[in-house]
Each structure stands twice: as C-alpha cells, then as structure tokens.
C-alpha cells in the first residue's frame, strides 16, 4: 500500500500516456492489439482506482490522501502536487469507470473514418488530462491538464464527427480556449496579487484569507474564473457550443464530454474558485444562481423545441448543469454536496443517454424524433433502458438524478450568510418548476421514440435489435450505479460532506459569516424565514 | 563583456531568420533561414551557460546542433521529394493544408 500512497496517483495520471506511447509502436492495421492495449491501460487505471477506493480513509475524507508534492517548475513556483479528497474522489472514480466502458463500447462501433489506433490514443490522452485535472492541487498543474483535455476532444469531433463537424469542433475549441485564457489570466492575477509565491490552492486560499488581495480584485478575479469555468460547464449564456459539439461528436466523444468534461468546469468552482475566493463567491452567487435558473428553464424549453434526439439530450445537459450550478451558488454544504452528487449523477445518466442515442443512431441511421417510434416494440430491452434513464434523468427519487436536484432546491431555500435569501427562494421555485419541464421533455421524448408502433419505414427492420454484448457490458455498470446511488445516496454524500465542509464551509464561515450558514436552528433562523416570506409581499393573517 | 551583447546579436540573427522563413519561396532558402534561427538559439544557450558558469548551455547547444543536422537532412529530403513531385520547390504553392 505504501507504494500506492506514494506513486498511485502519478501512476494513474501517466499510465494512459504510457499506454498511448506503447500503442504508437504498433502499426495501425493491427486493430486488435490497439484495442487490447487501450482497454488494458484503462483497466489498469481502473484497478488503481479500486485500490484507491479500498485504501481511502473515509474517516478523513476531508484531507488529501495519496498526496504527493514535488518541485516542478521552480522558477514559477509551480509544484507537482496531487492528492485526493472526498470532493474529488467520486469524480475521479467516475472518470476511471466511464473511460474503460467507452472503449468496450467502441469495440466494434468505431465511427467513420474508423482508425482505432488514433481514436483510442486520443481517448487515452484525454484520460490523462481528466485524471490529472481531478487530482491536481496546484493551479498550474490543473491548468495544464485542463488544457490537455481540449485537443483530443477537438480532434475527436473534427475527425470522427458528424456532417457539420468542422464548425462544431472549431466552435468548441475556440470557445473553451477563450474561457481557459480568462481562467489563466485569473490564475496569474491571483498569483501576483496574493504574493504567496505559490500556485498551490491551499496556499493561495490562505494568502487570500489573510487579506492579501483586495476585495475588488477578488471580485474581478472570480469573474474571470466564472467565465472560464462557466463556459466549460456550460452555463447559460455560454452554452451554445455544447449542443453543436454534442450533436456532431461521435457517441464516444459525447459520452466522455457529458460524463466527465463538463464536470471540469463545476469541479473548478468547488475546488478552486470558491475555496480561494469565498468573499467574491458570495458577491457573485446571485448572478450564478440567476444564470443557473435561467439555464434550467431555458434548457428545458430548448429541449421541447428539438427534433433531433441527440440535440435534445445535449440541451438537457444545460438544464441539469443548471441544478448543479444552483447548488454551488447557494454556497452551503447541502448545495455543494448536491452539486457533486449532481455531477456524478449527470455523468452516469447523460452518459448513458448518449450511449443509447448512439446505438439508436447506429440502428436507425437517423435521430429525427418524428421518424423514430416503437423502440419498445422493435428492441424492447433498449426501450426499457431508455425509459429507465429518462426517469433517472428527470429526477425520479430512488434513482441517482434526484439527489442532484432535490438537495440543490433545498439548499436554495436557505443559502449561505450574505447571500440574498428572498432571491434564492425565488430561484428555488423556478428550479422546482424546472423539474416539471424536465419530466415534460423527457417523457415526450420517450413517448415519441419508444412508445407506439414502429413507423413503416423501420417496421421489421432486422438491423434494429436489442443491445449486443459490448453494449451490455458497457451499460450495465452505469445502470446499476444509477439505481444504487439513488437508493443509497449516502455512498457519495458521506464521502463528500466532510471535504465540502472543510473546503467550503470553513472558508466561508471564517470569511463571510459568524457561523455556519446552513443548519443553525433557533430564533434567527425562523425570523429569517418569516422575514423572507414577508419580503415576498405576502402577509398572512393569524387566522384568529 | 556584457551578456546582453550576445543576446542581442542572437536576437538579430533570430529575427533575420524569421524574416527569411516568412519571405523565401525557395525551400532550400527557407531551410537556411531556419538554420539561422537555430544558431541564434545556440548563441543564447552558450551565452547563458557562460553567464551561469556551468556547462548545461553548452551541452544543449550540442544537442541542438545534432537536432539541426537531423532537421536539415529530413528537410532537404522533403524538398527533394517535393521537387520531384511538382518540379518546383516554391513554398507558396504548397497549400494542401487549406481547409
């Protein structure tokens, strides 16, 4: 175990790169070697993930474990600092799970123009970037991995994508690059202004807490990060790259994009932006909350207008990430726990939805909703799976999606000190309204694709079959996890909660309010409720 | 001697090299300009090595020379190939990267 404690994360980060390098040595005609190599590499990372899960000390989930710190680029004080705590563990494990499944799914499903070697190598490079982003504890390191992710994804869309792939990939690339440029500027500004001579997150956080950065500067820096991370999330109104990228990307790309890449943005908020700049977070939170709520409603309306299944799912991501952002905007334990849960749940569910959409496309050669129909007749199991994940996606309790939504709504009722309460209660109602719209578009999708009789065009088409072996292998873990996390949400909440408390509540309570915002019972609490209700302009008689 | 005089010399060489790369049509001349750039880099390396009083700069300068040799070899091979295929080594006609 000691070996893993020292080397585990480093191994995890670089194993995919090594795998890619080995693959380079084989000619591209040996497809099976490449598949085995790529799968083997990701399985190795998955095994390390299992070891991590076993070795992880859940009682100390608030501390960095398997932590490593080495000098890296002395001249700019960047360190190679990695580690895992309760906040990043679920996301890391999600990554380690999804990528092997994507490769298994790809086994016989390589999109045009085929070329498994290049495709799998890109996935492996992507894997390194994603793992690195979740374990980095140094801003420069984080930034490097954050950017590493960009290029493979760009090529995946640009080479293996749909008809309009060039436009979509360029838009994706430029948009996110624009975001990361702002992010980098924010990081640099933070580095120079804080004067802490370090890029480590904790170090910067301390430096800011000690008053190293003026309040105005903090707000501006947070604004930069908001744009940078917000584009990645994507947050309304920076989401327009997403539907195009998703629609044009190959299935595997869509799955990884939805399951992991979008989380980099939200993860950035909870790991970097808020802990370092809590004061600015409080200032910005009404804005984030408003954008989140607009995103929820707007994404749902966008879904209702879609005629393409994949595009609909892409828009639903905007709505779902809205809940995550709303949770983050509350700056409370509940909200941020909900956000992390929401990230994992969205990863599993939307990843699954894209898988199914990809398989539907492969069978029907179209995703035009009006032409589909009767999936439950033609391929009953596939139809049931679609029904199951639609339910999960609309936030049905008992499935994973609910635990991302409800606690976020709950937290919005009572946000952190300093955040306008009345406004957030309004957000809460809007978000609750969003659940209805979510049910609307997902069930409508389900009705039009799965229910009814198949159209003449596709009736008795032998191509339309139930999931094959690879699909079952790739999907089963996701489906099982959606159910398990739905029934036992403690599996994630119990891990994230101590870390969230350590990272966010603590810095908020020291910087912003006198005491922890979320759960204090007592007179002030109740006065707060009454006052806020009164704020809403409704006076209620005593009934006497 | 001042460090800067070497660095400025290198900068001038570098910029001349860049100018050459950007303006020359003939493939061989472009490669020559690249050599100018590489040499500018080498001067910098060696000057900094002397400035820091160690041999790292020298070592890397040697590596750069080796790499430059490889680069010229491959580059000229490509120019030859291009010449054979198109009967011209005019870089402005090379626009296969066009999107």
């Amino acid at each position: 175990m000691d070996f893993f404690r020292d080397w585990g994360l480093t191994l995890l980060i670089f194993a995919p790169l090594i795998g890619a390098a080995v693959m380079m040595a084989f000619p591209k005609t040996d497809e099976s070697i490449h598949k085995v190599l790529a799968l083997g590499t990701t399985l190795v990372t998955a095994v390390i993930g299992v070891v991590l899960l076993i070795d992880f000390d859940y009682d100390r989930a608030d501390e960095m474990q398997w932590a490593v710190e080495r000098n890296w680029i002395d001249i700019i004080r960047a360190e190679y600092a990695v580690g895992i705590d309760g906040m990043s563990l679920p996301l890391l494990i999600l990554t380690l799970l999804v990528v092997p499944l994507v490769i298994i799914y790809s086994w016989n499903h390589f999109p045009h123009p085929h070329n498994p070697k290049a495709f799998l190598m890109l996935i492996l490079v992507l894997h390194t970037g994603m793992i690195g982003s979740f374990v980095a504890r140094d801003l420069v390191l984080f930034f490097v991995f954050f950017e590493v992710v960009l290029l493979p994804m760009f090529f995946m869309i640009a080479v293996w994508g749909g008809e309009d792939r060039k436009y979509a990939s360029l838009k994706f690339f430029l948009y996110t690059l624009f975001g990361s440029a702002l992010m980098l500027v924010s990081f640099l500004a933070l580095f120079f202004l804080a004067g802490a001579e370090t890029f480590s997150i904790v170090g910067l956080s301390d430096a800011v807490a000690e008053g190293g950065v003026s309040r105005n500067a903090q707000i501006w820096i947070f604004g930069g990060m908001l744009l940078g991370f917000g584009i990645k999330v994507p947050m309304f109104p920076f989401h327009t790259w997403l539907p195009d990228a998703h629609t044009q990307a190959p299935t595997q790309g869509s799955v990884i994009l939805a399951a992991v890449l979008l989380k980099l943005g939200t993860y950035g908020f909870v790991r970097i932006a808020i802990p370092i700049l809590p004061e600015a977070a409080v200032v910005w939170s009404p804005v984030i909350g408003a954008l989140a709520c607009i995103g929820i409603i707007y994404g749902a309306l966008g879904c209702l207008a879609q005629t393409d299944m994949k595009r609909l799912i892409a828009f639903s991501s905007v709505a779902h990430m809205g809940y995550v952002m709303l949770g983050i905007a509350t700056l409370t334990d509940w909200g941020i726990n909900a956000a992390i849960f929401g990230m994992v749940a969205h990863g599993l569910i939307t990843g699954m939805l894209f898988f199914v959409a990809g398989s539907v496309k492969e069978r029907y050669h179209t995703l035009e909703i009006s032409r589909l129909g009767g999936l439950l007749v033609s391929a009953p199991r596939m139809g049931w799976i679609l029904g199951f994940i639609s339910m999960a996606s609309l936030g049905l309790p008992g499935l994973a999606g609910f635990w991302g939504e409800f606690p976020a709504i709950l937290a919005a009722y009572n946000p952190a000190n300093g955040v306008p309460v009345g406004l957030f209660r309004f957000y809460m109602v809007v978000a609750a309204l969003g659940t209805v719209l979510a049910a609307g578009y997902l069930l409508w999708l389900l009705q039009r694709t799965a229910m009814g009789e198949p159209s003449e065009e596709f009736a008795n088409n032998p191509e339309i079959t139930d999931p094959n072996r690879e699909e079952w292998i790739a999907w089963t873990p996701l489906l099982v996890l959606i159910l398990v996390f739905g029934l036992v949400p403690g599996l994630i909440f119990n891990i994230t909660d101590p870390a969230v408390e350590a990272n966010i509540s603590d810095c908020l309570s020291t910087d912003v309010g006198d005491d922890k915002a979320s759960f204090d019972v007592g007179t002030c609490e109740r006065d707060g409720i009454d006052a806020a209700l009164a704020d809403l302009g409704v006076a209620i008689g005593d009934g006497e | 001697m001042m460090l800067n005089q070497f660095l400025l010399l290198a900068a001038v060489l570098f910029c001349l090299g860049v100018y050459g790369v950007l303006t020359r049509r003939n493939g061989v001349l472009v490669l020559m300009s690249v050599e100018l750039i590489l040499n500018a880099v080498n001067i910098n390396l060696v000057a900094f090595g002397a400035f820091q009083d160690n041999v790292v700069g020298d070592v890397f300068a040697v590596f750069v020379i080796a790499v430059a040799a490889a680069e010229v070899g491959v580059g000229l091979a490509m120019v030859l190939l291009m010449y054979r295929n198109r009967k011209s080594i005019d870089f402005t006609e090379v626009d296969m990267l066009k999107g």
């Binding site: - | 800067n4 860049v18 100018y19 020359r24 080498n42 400035f51 300068a61 000229l76 030859l80």
Partner: protein, 239 residues
Amino acid sequence: MSVLAQVANELTSSEVDIAQNIAFGIIAAAMIFSAFKTVTTANVVHAALYLVIVLAGVAAIFILLGSDFVGATQVLVYIGAIVVLFLFGIMLTKAQLGDDETVETERRSMGALVGVLLLVVMGYALVDTFENAELEFSDPEPIAFSEIDVKVSDVPTPVVDALPDVFGDRGGDDIVTITGADFATLVPEVQRRVPGAEVFGNNKQIADSIFSQYIVPFEAVSVLLLAALIGAIVVARKE
C-alpha cells in the same frame, strides 16, 4: 590549450576584456551583414556561402565565450556537413545559378514587419532584463600537473610572486623546478599561468554532463539522428 586562453595568459583581465569586445564587434558585424545577405540575396548559391560566414561567426562567438568544444562542433557539423548538404540540395533541385528574382515572395513587407516587431519586443525585453548582467569567466580547472622545470624568465610575474619559496632563493639559477605540491598551493587564476600546466577548457565537464546527467537526452538525440537518417532515405528515395 586554447588560443584564447593563451592570449589571456599574457594579458590582464581588463586588457582581455577590451580585446574580446573588439573581436566581438568585428565578428558580430560580419555575422549580421552575412545573415542579412543570406535572407535577402537573390542568388541561391550566394545565400549558402553567406550562411557559411554566419556559421563561422557563430563558432567564433562560441570560442569567445569559452566554449571551445561547441565551437569546434559547430565548425565540423555546420560548415563541414550541413552547408555541403545545402549545396547538394541546391544542385539537385536545379536551382538557377545566378540571380533569381523569384526566390522572394510578395510578402516581404509583412515579413519585415514581423521581424522588426519581434526584434523590438525581444530587444526591449533583453535590455530590460539583463541590463547590467556581466559575463565573468571562471577559470577552467587545471586537471593535471607533473613536475616541470621552467626558465625563470618565462614565468609570469604573478606566479613568481605567489611562489616565493621556489623563486626567492634560487641562487641565480635560471632553471627552477615547480613540483606538484607547489602547484597545488596556487589559486586557480595563478595556476593556469604556470607554463606547462595542462589547463583545459570545459571539455571535461561537458563530457561528464553528457554522459551522466544528460544521458537520456543524449540517447534520445542519437535515436533521433538515426530516425532522421532513415526518414530522409525513405522520403527522398525514388519509388
């Protein structure tokens, strides 16, 4: 013993400095002129020949900076091999001998603009950053010394001053013996003025570095060279 070190033996440091600066000025002027001609001349062969001057100048600069080994390598590899390759390239592509106005593109102004901009930015940055940085050459470490008999008249004054025991009471003898023990008592600056002391440049250190600390890059470069060799053959051969 390098030429420069020998010159240096004779001169005081400020004298050396002036000499070096003069040398530098001449070399630099030649280099810049030649480089300019390389990138502007219309004659391809001339360009190659101007390039030779630049490369030689670079080698001279290396020597001026005390890196004899790199300088030697520069001459061997660049002037000896690469330029020849270029000439072959020129001939094989049947370039027009003599002036050829088509070698220049129409984007000269753009290139000039970029180049000048780059120069301004870099120049400003350099001047700003290294305004007062001076080069001080540490003395190369002497690596070996065996007992030697020298003529007193040949020995520079600092050595005589530093070894009063040897030179002080010699009884009019014209030849004295400097032992290894005597030599070891001297500070390095004086040591290298002792006639016959085997004072080298930094070649030994370079060798040490390459084969210990930088062994991996070294191996990588060797593989790269091999790859380039094979690659060049593959690319250039006729189908």
